[in-house]
Subunit: 387 residues, 2 copies
């Protein structure tokens, strides 16, 4: 691997092909915020505004401004989205809706905790970019609400009957790994250390099942394995993504053994989740090999592959593992071949098992300005560290 050449390929893809796509195609000049339902060429096919994607785009452009270059058009893009969200994204008490219509009127109630986590992440980064204390306060208050809602994130919208089968879910501790570091400038080192200790424990000792070498998406409240659809569920991309969040925490708190363990789990998960017939990483699997409830289990999704690239290159950079390097190269080849669009900017999101494009959209309800540019940025930066 020529890491210099590759770093410049990732940088070029980010700055010349992906960031311009979102900057030019997604901003709503009339009402503010961003269109994310964009077809292959970048034309808007639906105008609904999903809070996950609105907040993540604010984060992404703020992050580029903070870490790459002080380009005013990047800050403007983040700012107009931030103002739209400040005004329309929540109910007045920082309960973040799931979606809005184009004008900003709420469509779906604040049932989804990740609307909150991505809002906190966005406003923390926007606060840093602007120095505007109001944004940092939105981030901090939202973070507090997240911690309060931890035990029943869905609130009244939780359809689980209390007491019969109390499961806890991997996603929130996993996101908190990343969010706590993202917010360290607001939360302070002590708070981050406290949160990090707990989430590392949850991810690496509760959701990770050493008898299988894999992370499950749900466990019983007491931490034991649940032999049910939810308890057997694996989401390889999710687990592998979490491992680079854990590596970042390992670096921050100077725990090389945490980094090594995270890389080991990621490699095991990639091996288990790799489609030996057609290549690519499966979306969902069952720990016992039973059918999943998710009909889309065998599809190949952009974010799964991009997050895996980040984890593997970080693992290589931090440990020198040749296995991590080979894994990076394998997933790099698959990802650039199948997800990148030669003809138009931004990448495809959804492939069928064989790697054929299933939807030729560049953005939709779940795919926005986030995993592709964040992944390109992270891999570029990590490759540069390799020199």
């Amino acid at each position: 691997m020529n890491s210099k050449e590759l770093a410049s390929a990732y940088k070029h893809e980010l700055l010349e092909r992906v960031v311009p796509f979102w900057l030019e195609k997604s901003q709503d000049p009339k009402y503010g915020g961003y269109f994310t339902c964009l077809n292959r060429e970048g034309e808007v096919f639906d105008t609904d505004k999903f809070i996950w994607l609105q907040t993540r785009q604010v984060w992404l452009f703020s992050m580029l401004y903070n870490r790459v270059e002080k380009r005013p058009e990047w800050l403007d893009c983040a700012l107009q989205g931030g103002e739209f969200l400040k005004k329309y994204g929540h109910d007045g008490s920082l309960n973040w809706y799931f979606s809005l219509n184009r004008e900003g009127q709420p469509l779906i109630q604040p049932y989804n905790i990740f609307s909150y986590t991505f809002a906190a992440m966005a406003f923390a980064q926007l606060g840093l970019a602007t120095g505007n204390q109001e944004y940092s306060e939105i981030a901090l208050k939202t973070f507090d609400i997240i911690l309060k809602k931890q035990d029943n994130p869905k609130g009244q919208y939780n359809k689980a009957y209390p007491g019969t089968r109390n499961l806890k879910n991997f996603a929130l501790p996993m996101i908190l790994c990343n969010l706590s570091l993202e917010m360290e400038h607001i939360l302070g080192a002590t708070e981050v250390e406290k949160t990090a200790k707990e989430v590392i424990h949850q991810v690496m000792e509760v959701f990770y099942r050493p008898e299988h070498g894999l992370i499950v998406e749900n466990v019983n409240a007491d931490g034991s394995f649940s032999d049910t659809f939810d308890g057997r569920l694996l989401n390889p991309g999710h687990a592998i993504e979490a491992m680079w969040f854990i590596m970042d925490l390992g670096v921050r708190f100077n725990q090389p053994e945490t980094v090594s363990k995270a890389l080991k789990i990621a490699l095991q998960t990639l091996d288990y989740g790799w489609d030996k017939k057609y290549g690519g990483i499966f979306y969902f699997m069952d720990l016992k090999g039973h059918p999943t409830q998710q009909l889309e289990w065998d599809q190949k999704l952009w974010w799964v592959h991009i997050e895996t690239l980040i984890t593997m290159i970080k693992g290589y950079q931090l440990t020198g593992s040749q296995e991590a390097l080979r894994a990076f190269e394998k997933v790099h080849d698959y990802t650039w071949k199948h997800f990148r669009d030669d003809q138009y900017h931004e990448w495809f999101g959804y492939l069928n098992r064989r790697g054929e494009v299933s939807f030729n959209l560049k953005g939709g309800k779940w795919k926005g300005c986030f995993h592709v540019p964040r992944g390109l940025y992270q891999v570029w930066q990590t490759l540069e560290k390799l020199g």
Copy 2:
């Protein structure tokens, strides 16, 4: 088409291969009710009990007992499921849960109106089979609750923010077409006539969009088209299934023009929904050809094809339409070739776009003892009428 030979093939498949599968493999001898998560050979891979499928199996075995033959093992099978549901299926006030664990403890709250509709259908048919008034009363009271819940079926679990975009959904009026006829012996002719008039209007004049010749899944509260993900959504199998419910109402109320219109809509939908490249009917489509939110849009599902067989053969039998006959033959060939399992009983449920088996289960969270046997029964009976 040799209708006699074909009738006997459908009858044989029903009585020798499908009904025995469920009778032998699915009953839970310890706690009552049915296992529906069954692998290819019929072995249980998960023990959760989903009310849609529990109730539908009670209905199916009661229906066979009422209409095909008074086999005591069929009645026993229906009865034990009915007793399990009477005791565990609801909250004591006939609010029907969505799912239970094996022992009958509630897992998912009563948020889903179709748990209620299939419970009403089940207990109406079981009341008929047994003459037990208690069952008929459960059906009648549940029917009343459904009508009361019509305007906000999800109640507190409804995540739509009130007022921004009030949509109404096709599924409930569509199911009421069938349920009202199913319950005529309990509801009485006047009530059925009243319900039927309203639901025929909703299905054929509100959800059917003559400018496209297709039925949409959701419209605005005022009946207008909504140019949104939900408003553009097509589910061809759903629309075609509704058309045989409408034909049954057309026959019942002696409206041949309703029968002809239903057949016309079904043929248009089949033509639109047919995969010209690989054959089979798509699961979801967008009226404007945009990507759907449903990642599984291009899969081929058992129930879609089986319901289409019923609609086409009824259409042919009632109108003599050669187009309906050709459509029946085309879908028959695809369905028997791809969904039927030569080696083991019951049929596959989920194929990918190319018609390859995606999950080799015979039952799961959504596939139980319902569409395959009901479809085989309906087609067999209709073919017999052709003589």
